[in-house]
Symmetry: D2
């Protein structure tokens, strides 16, 4: 380490010719209107230094990256008893598939597919009157940026077009795997997905995962063994049906979102966030994956 | 023919020792409270005579038998263009499965599984302000019984606990295979399922299927080729995942419901309705199946 | 009836412009070399008259139609105890799929998919030293044509390229659902598929299915109830994943083969065989389906 | 580090009360006859020291652990072009399932399920006249134990009862995803599974995975990036459908076998092998999992 800024600059320079590659998310209209030619990287070391390149201060829709904060917040409020309601195995199928959910009687495979995150959100409803605000507060505190907020237009669009998520929620409800009302849970869930923040915000907000649970204010928010478990879930389940490919090529625990963001962690070293809206066929940022692959190659370090 | 009443009496007598066998439907509370010790058969010949035995004049919840009326009514208002939205193949899986629906991109396999009937109901919403009343009117006219109605308690229970059907509807909506609101369509769908009528009503109401489309008032309501197509769909898809077993043992086009009713048709000869609330593991009336098997054996005639 | 030849001539005349439509079977080389421009129909009435048009005396590879003879022969040697090894429900999936076989623990859905016919062949191995000859003898006796035989080139090709069938057989063996050696059973199975005969031969050979079990020599070979059960299986399972479509459009119990042949039965009236090598996407003869649809329309009679 | 022997002793002492827990593998008779009350651990540090406790010098059947050597040997002979024939994603289903194989057109999900290892073995057949000896030579060289060999009785049993593997191989052959004869490939495959060696042998033999590719003789046998990729595959796919659970609880790249052995690696620190024949319901050594969980807890270090 020590050459972080130089390496970020190199990566940006090597990849800038590809900016705009991939397809924009089209499942909600507002995401497909984001300018495609944006690319940013931010990195935060465990010693507290931050680095950035490109559009690393521009806010974007974090989408499924929110599932990481929901899981972390849930793990702060429990031991492991909720694992009978959500598994921790890779799914082997698409992120919003109902097939496996039916074969396994309404129990989602892991907390990073939509169904699993909906159950986790239902779980947060046990602890918070407004889980959406609880997640926002957690993110603001960890990133140190109180202006982070929900994009109302994205939220409205999620809710209006979220029939697949309604299907997942009603389906789990039919198996008794949802304690609260479908509307209540999904309102919170759509809120989490609609949060906007920058690469810099994200690199800071997930920094506790690289520091054995030490939060932004220097205090422990989750014990070491729970951090390891979250990181292991990111590695095996964080990139949907691309998890193996991510582990193979990048070698870091990561969590991606269809807004084009990806966060990653090298425990004991750094947290990182990349963003570029163009997606590959599996729904992961095309340029983001390449950037992370270059990062672990150039630093010559992965968890493996 | 000529010995219809004698044969019905024989069947009743041979099976009465088994009355109460099977399990009551338990997916909605009100169905599980129906007294189990009921059993009735009604038969109507193409020449217009009616016969009955046991509880053949007692009303019960027709449940999925309503799908037959919904399909018939839909076929009165169209040619075959809607078949791109619903298939006509047996499903090979449970009646409310989402697996096949996902594998086939939101297109239900046939009009007799829940998903298919929901699309058919959506289709009726194109033609009727209140499809529920249209279906009721159709049934009343064909059975000649204007007092047939919806059981409000069953309806409320269906709606309150119908998360699986909400999941199916939202899922198809996410594929663009539902034109109307989920709430609107399901309200009508739950209404159809909640209709109550007797074996005698049912045998009369499906009589047009045994008479090449000639309705209760002697006029043609559907042409011969459409009647054959409805009958063929009953034969291949009318008993969920038991369709092959029904064809093998009974040899008539039939449609069953979890209220314990089954209607059947021998084209050119008669229509029949049986009812007993106890179900086998596939959700078909235990005694009803036996009664129909005895019926085709004793009359020595099936479609095969 | 009485106008059978006239109707066959009309059908031929209406369809001859389409001769050559569809794709030849390509899973074994020798089938893809059959001249595509062939089309024949033969019909045999229950009173014993035969009619034919086009290439109705040309021999072709019966392929899966052989499954019908294997099943009939098996039913002549047993009651129903083997049904625990093979189901009687439509499969809802492709004819050589392993998915359902795995989900149902090595028990094929019905005797007309490859896996089911392999189990039936295994069953014949209990009764015959050489099931292949037993099936041939049965077919020769019923068609009254002793020159019917196996095409050795087709047989060799089936065996050399039959990896999917080897997979099915070994898979069922692993579940204990095959009593005899994989090689022994498949040798017989490939033999059955490689039998060659004409439309006329076929219409005669399946005539017992239209005559309540009365064979070619006027004696009963299977009782009425078993005939009805075979016919019901043809209706629900005889056209692979097109069974619903066949029932809907044609309305007869049928069995098709990828050689382009289809046999059908109207119980009490006639048996029929059509042949044209071009297949639709589901592996059924394109012209054959149209011919049967015209046939039941022109005769104005189906089982429904 | 420095307290390795002490920690192994502690683990043995804490777990010895559970020796015999779990079920013996029963898919081949010879494995079910292994005495259940055995338990051993061996650990080798990157600096070359070895430690052991319990039955760590007793040979056992490595079964699927051989897949790791097959993959490593294959990666020594190629870049990455074979990845179009085998994927690198977790399977989400049982190790010998055909379902996913059919859904993905004969391409196994990863090299650690049976189908994937069969393709890898097929690949070795391109390079070696006798892949079985090549794998044995590789293992002997890396473990420094020339007496390691195949157990002929296990081999014969695998071959005689391996119908599921024959099904997998024929199935892939039908998709063109096997270049060599089914018999040739499976003979090699069964050979690999039948290799016997001890925990100590195994900890030594996989030591190169903890040392960035430096083999037993101090020379590089695989470059660093390939080692990372093998380790990532172990992490995401090495424990069948328990991969997420292993990552969550243990946090090391591992590979298990139904003989009751598990190997694991902490890159830069050590390799480890545990063995106890009793299996959990997912086919992984009950005691072995517990031992590895205690190991990473006591050393307070995992890859996360």
């Amino acid at each position: 380490m020590g050459n972080e800024q130089k390496i970020l600059d190199e990566i940006y320079s090597e990849l800038k010719g590809l900016i705009g590659a991939g397809e924009l998310a089209n499942y909600i209209p507002v995401l497909s209107q984001v300018p495609a030619d944006q690319f940013g990287i931010a990195l935060k070391t465990v010693s507290g230094e931050s680095f950035g390149v490109g559009d690393y201060q521009t806010s974007f829709s974090i989408q499924s990256i929110s599932k990481l904060f929901v899981l972390s917040l849930a793990m702060m409020h429990t031991d492991s008893d909720r694992w009978h309601r959500v598994g921790r195995e890779p799914s082997g199928t698409s992120f919003n598939s109902l097939v496996q959910l039916e074969q396994e009687n309404g129990r989602p495979r892991n907390p990073f597919i939509n169904a699993g995150a909906i159950v986790m959100t239902d779980y947060l409803c046990d602890f918070f009157d407004c889980p959406r605000n609880a997640v926002l507060d957690f993110i603001r505190a960890q990133s140190g940026n109180d202006s982070i907020n929900i994009n109302q237009e994205v939220f409205d669009s999620e809710q209006a077009t979220g029939h697949r998520n309604y299907a997942l929620a009603h389906f789990m409800k039919s198996y008794g795997n949802l304690n609260h009302d479908v509307e209540t849970v999904l309102k919170a869930y759509f809120g989490h997905c609609s949060i906007e923040m920058s690469c810099l915000d994200l690199a800071c907000a997930v920094s506790f995962l690289s520091r054995e649970g030490i939060g932004n204010d220097g205090k422990s928010i989750l014990d070491k063994s729970k951090i390891r478990r979250i990181n292991s879930l990111m590695l095996t389940c964080g990139a949907y049906d691309n998890a193996g490919e991510f582990a193979f090529r990048i070698g870091l625990p990561t969590k991606s979102g269809v807004g084009g963001g990806i966060v990653g962690v090298l425990p004991g070293s750094y947290s990182v966030a990349v963003w570029s809206p163009g997606l590959n066929s599996a729904g992961n940022s095309e340029l983001g994956m390449k950037a992370l692959e270059l990062l672990t190659t150039k630093f010559d370090a992965s968890i493996f």
